[in-house]
């Protein structure tokens, strides 16, 4: 990795956090569940990034979003968890050389990418909402929120990735 390479990801990180904190955290107002698009940053980081820096990145990303949503430790824990599982999902759901790629529609293929992203999103959201709720009462209402949020996040993930895909194919 050279320095301009890192710089690009720092800009991505800032954009994801800003969009999450300033726009998506307010989606509560539409009386729907909240989408957590910021984890797409973790999902899309190169799969060959060293494990420990990646885990630390996930921790800090979760912590920053936690601070802005008064959910101390919850995003943190969920983000580190999916970060640890990422190579497993890449291997299981991505193409055979997935661990050397940067996940995207182009590199993974549309269906493989969506399966991979859905697994990561589902685990993060399930962990988040169960920890946020703090108990196993109201299991159904929590499950309902989890499913709503997963659908919401995945729609956004699809839109972002589709846009990136079209954009990059227009350039070529």
């Amino acid at each position: 990795m050279n320095s301009s390479f890192n710089y690009k990801y720092l800009v991505h990180w800032l954009i994801y956090i800003a969009v999450q904190v300033l726009v998506l955290n307010g989606v509560d107002y539409l009386q729907m569940a909240t989408p957590f698009l910021f984890i797409l940053f973790l999902i899309n980081l190169p799969a060959d990034m060293a494990r420990i820096p990646f885990l630390l990145t996930a921790f800090v990303t979760g912590l920053v979003v936690d601070v802005f949503s008064s959910t101390a430790g919850i995003h943190c824990t969920a983000c580190v968890f999916i970060a640890y599982l990422k190579p497993l999902f890449c291997k299981a759901l991505g193409p055979s050389d997935a661990l050397t790629l940067t996940p995207s529609f182009r590199s993974f293929g549309q269906s493989r990418y969506l399966q991979y992203a859905l697994s990561m999103v589902a685990i993060h959201h399930a962990l988040f909402f169960f920890m946020e709720n703090g108990s196993t009462n109201m299991l159904l209402s929590v499950l309902f929120r989890v499913v709503q949020s997963i659908i919401f996040t995945m729609l956004l993930v699809f839109s972002v990735e589709y846009f990136k895909y079209r954009h990059s194919s227009n350039e070529n």
């Binding site: 904190v21 307010g26 009386q31």
Partner: protein
């Protein structure tokens, strides 16, 4: 030895993972209780500032509705003023009214207006962030109301912002009563619908009806007696001869913008007295 080192190298990632998860869980368990979380929540200065800027921008979009609400409030205030003036004429010579007024003055409540800069209402633990903090005299355990009724209780403050635990938080408990009845109960929220809360501990022999007003009981130093909370919706007999009552909450928590923080000047004195009293027993 070599195998041991290799073993450790293989599990190096796992140890880092474990360490970070433990850190995250420590944060989770130490900050997600009622009075904690002073720095790691949305009442800290950075988050508060950022949300303040966002509200400056989005605030304009709702101005039309706000205007309507203000106009409507003006109208109702005018009519109340008219009614109050008439009542004043009637009571001018009444000595019991003079005594009651003295008690109200002695109780010493004052109201401070604040703007909601961030709010959630679809989670189980919802919070509001207000743009007034310790610099303006806000302290934890002050009551928060809107013109439509009780909103919640201040849980922590920073210099310029305060964090409120609204009725819509599963750890919120507010002492209330049915208007014109002396029996008090506790208002809690089950975490499902942001329009309804649940009133517990009212015995089933108390006659109530759908549409009766629920008001604060005044049994704490947080809210004065008689502040509107909501109206009785569905109710039914729960366990142990106790009614389970749905309360249709007065304020629309999805549209809160301006709220009032209640400053009960004698709160310290009242607490001190209650403490001394209990020590004497």
């Amino acid at each position: 030895m070599e195998t041991l080192l290799r073993f450790f190298a293989i599990f190096k990632n796992f140890f880092v993972f474990l360490l970070l998860e433990i850190l995250g869980l420590m944060l989770y368990f130490s900050y997600n209780s009622y009075q904690h979380g002073k720095y790691l929540n949305a009442s800290n200065v950075v988050a508060g500032k950022l949300y303040g800027i966002r509200n400056e921008i989005t605030g304009y979009m709702d101005l039309n509705n706000q205007n309507w609400d203000l106009a409507r409030e003006n109208a109702s205030l005018k009519s109340q003023l008219y009614a109050a003036n008439k009542a004043l004429e009637y009571f001018r010579e009444d000595s019991t009214y003079a005594i009651r007024r003295k008690i109200a003055e002695k109780n010493n409540y004052s109201f401070m207006s604040a703007r909601v800069v961030n709010a959630t209402f679809t989670k189980a633990h919802n919070y509001l962030t207000l743009d007034k903090g310790s610099n303006e005299g806000v302290r934890p355990l002050m009551g928060v109301v809107s013109q439509a009724g009780v909103v919640g209780i201040v849980s922590s403050v920073s210099e310029h912002f305060s964090l409120v635990i609204p009725v819509l938080n599963v750890s919120s408990q507010i002492s209330v009563k049915v208007k014109n009845k002396s029996q008090t109960g506790t208002l809690v929220w089950k975490g499902d619908d942001y329009r309804y809360a649940t009133l517990q501990e009212i015995p089933s022999y108390i006659p109530i009806a759908k549409g009766d007003s629920i008001v604060t009981s005044g049994y704490s130093s947080i809210f004065p007696e008689g502040i509107f909370v909501g109206k009785i919706g569905k109710y039914g007999r729960g366990k142990d001869q106790v009614l389970s009552i749905d309360v249709n909450l007065g304020p629309d928590f999805s549209k809160l913008v301006y709220v009032d923080i209640i400053d009960f000047k004698n709160a310290e004195e009242m607490k001190k007295l209650e403490k001394e009293g209990s020590l004497n027993e």
